[in-house]
């Protein structure tokens, strides 16, 4: 459900951000100017701080589980008990439902153990949300970075060599583009999940339950969204005088691509990266919600929401808590992305949506 497009200005020349004087940017490198603008953008900095906070807290999940909650969030604790207000209670309560029927996991205790309650296997939801964040963020950041790197290299090759290479790559990208993102991811994931022994590339072996599977799938489906605008930029940068100058000095193709053209198109990719991570985090949660992303017993925000679906009316926190984490993460990345865009290229238009 994601669409992602970035329209860089055709001739990125120095422009003044609102409230900036010409003296502040004259004679400074573009990166210095962008850095200064970003540091002055309080809202973007706050968003960055929030995002980093979520990352740090999520990666401290084992500390929380071992030291604070004293629980193993990957094992079922159906017959376990916990202490609430000095009383010992069952984690899975019999007949706790509204009709006095069935089993209901314990609700939020707002204490160290089972802070947000348990899921229907008696696992600590708070600990699972933190572990889930670790997986979601690793997949989100990992796939966005892999996607941008592959797209960047392909765009450099296509835009630099043009001809049949460009034609082939562009047609392949058009084809990937023609698939609805989720449906393409679903097809690839089903094929991989029905391949019990995993994928064997000969040199690396990836198991079907590995986090690499959703990471690579998500990276693949978004490549055209980065490839297209970057290729366009490479095509125009290639015609610049400084590239001609370098050619006349006998520079090699590699040098032209990576030393002359790359530095002039990399800002496009940098602007896209935060928005890309926001998109991939949302995509990961959707795939995991559909049970084709992160595989059990591992957790991600999407799988915890899926666990909470059956408990929605009795124990709503199981589904609500991971959703709030996703909203905060994606929101902070979107705000940060706006800030980075304004800092690097005050007038370009970026759009991203899930």
């Amino acid at each position: 459900m994601a669409e992602f497009a970035y329209e860089p200005e055709p001739e990125p020349e120095a422009r003044l951000a609102p409230g900036e004087s010409a003296r502040e940017i004259s004679g400074r490198s573009p990166w210095r100017i962008a850095g200064r603008r970003l540091v002055r953008d309080r809202i973007a900095l706050a968003a960055l701080a929030l995002f980093l906070l979520i990352v740090v807290v999520s990666f401290l999940a084992p500390v929380y589980a071992n030291r604070i909650a004293h629980t193993d969030p990957f094992d079922s604790h159906i017959s376990a008990t916990t202490t609430v207000d000095g009383k010992e209670v069952d984690v899975i309560q019999q007949g706790g439902g509204e009709l006095g029927l069935g089993e209901v996991p314990i609700g939020p205790t707002w204490q160290a153990n089972y802070f947000l309650g348990a899921d229907n296997q008696g696992r600590d939801v708070a600990a699972r949300v933190l572990y889930g964040g670790r997986a979601s963020l690793a997949i989100g950041i990992g796939s966005a970075v892999i996607c941008c790197l592959i797209a960047l290299v392909l765009a450099l090759l296509a835009g630099f060599f043009r001809g049949w290479l460009d034609a082939t790559l562009s047609r392949v990208m058009d084809l990937i583009w023609a698939f609805p993102v989720y449906l393409l991811a679903i097809s690839i994931a089903t094929v991989l999940l029905t391949t019990p022994e995993g994928i064997n590339f000969g040199f690396v072996q990836i198991e079907a339950s590995s986090l690499w599977v959703p990471t690579l799938i998500i990276a693949l489906v978004y490549i055209p969204y980065v490839f297209r605008p970057v290729r366009g930029q490479v095509l125009s940068v290639r015609e610049k005088g400084y590239v001609d100058a370098s050619i006349s000095q006998g520079a090699s193709n590699l040098r032209l691509m990576f030393a002359e053209i790359l530095p002039n198109v990399i800002s496009t990719v940098i602007v896209m990266l935060p928005l890309m991570i926001a998109t991939t985090v949302l995509t990961e949660s959707a795939l995991s919600f559909l049970s084709i992303g992160v595989q059990p017993p591992q957790a991600s925000w999407g799988t915890v929401i899926e666990d909470g679906q059956g408990l929605l009316y009795t124990r709503p926190w199981v589904a609500i808590a991971p959703g709030i984490m996703i909203v905060l993460t994606v929101l902070s990345l979107n705000v940060l992305g706006d800030g980075v865009r304004d800092a690097l290229d005050p007038r370009a238009k970026v759009r991203v949506k899930e």
């Binding site: 459900m1 669409e3 058009d174 084809l175 023609a178 698939f179 609805p180 993102v181 989720y182 449906l183 393409l184 679903i186 097809s187 690839i188 089903t190 094929v191 999940l193 029905t194 391949t195 019990p196 022994e197 994928i199 064997n200 926001a278 949302l282 949660s285 959707a286 919600f289 559909l290 049970s291 084709i292 999407g302 929401i305 909470g308 679906q309 929605l312 009316y313 709503p316 589904a319 609500i320 991971p322 959703g323 996703i326 909203v327 994606v330 929101l331 979107n334 705000v335 238009k349 759009r351 991203v352 949506k353 899930e354």
Partner: protein
Amino acid sequence: MLAFIIRRFAGLVVVLFSITVIVFLLFFATPGIDPSARLAGRNPSPETVAAVKHEFGLDRPLPVRYGLMMKRLFISRDLVSYGNQALKVVPAITSAAPVTFSLVLGAAVLWVVMSIAMGLLAVTFKGTVVDPLLMIVALIGISMPVFWLGEVLNLITQDRLHDTFLFSWVPPLGYTPFTENPWQWFLHLIIPWITLSVLYIGFYARVLRANLLDIQNEDYVRTARAKGLPPRRVLLKHMLRNSMITFVSLFGLDFGFLVGGGALLTEVVFGLPGVGRLTFQALQQLDLPVIMATVIYGAFFISIMSALVDIVYARLDPRIRPS
């Protein structure tokens, strides 16, 4: 213009053909396992596997297999699901499509009206607190996973506040066809429409606002102001109309994307028996014929929509018509 249309459709045919080839190769020629076992679903019996092998001619060369598969999809239309032998795949999709269409159509009306209103309000009140407030709301809308929003709305309207005057009108989850009872159709779809449109309202409002701010210093806008037109007329007749070019092309693509299967998550959360939920149920069974057919349906729909958008766009804006 005619040459452009013909060229665009020739390109479309190539894309559609490539889509079927890719999907076919993905499901039938990925190295690693036997496609008959994959087609037969989870834990198939040996008889099923043998039957599948025979039916799809898996002992024949790859191009023949491709031809057989396409014949069953498009000509004889008798591809069956292996999880449920009674389910014919193609009729299942055609009967699910109206549900998806109802969902997307209503949401589209909602998101067009709301996003234009928000975009115009934000530009009109630029410099006051209204503009950033609206944009924060839009940003939050973009940042919510749609399935989570749907669950939270379900929690509120189906359970927590269902017995209050606010939401007692909300019917239980499910779908009533329009032809059966238009009023029930409408009631059942209100909450799903809202859920699906939130993201697009936020997104389109942001795009529209940025676009309006971009063109506010164009010559024709200044001319319109200079000749003394009232600001509202300048905004609606000159600026908004021009922004609509981008808006329309975005809309066409998003609409095609959602009808083509992108509304999957909303359908699943609200139990609407559309194409997306068909895919989801097939996913639970790993029922490959159904998944293959819905993926091809979705990609076809999107490709056709995007060809149409290109043609409409070329009609609206002669500058982009390639000579």
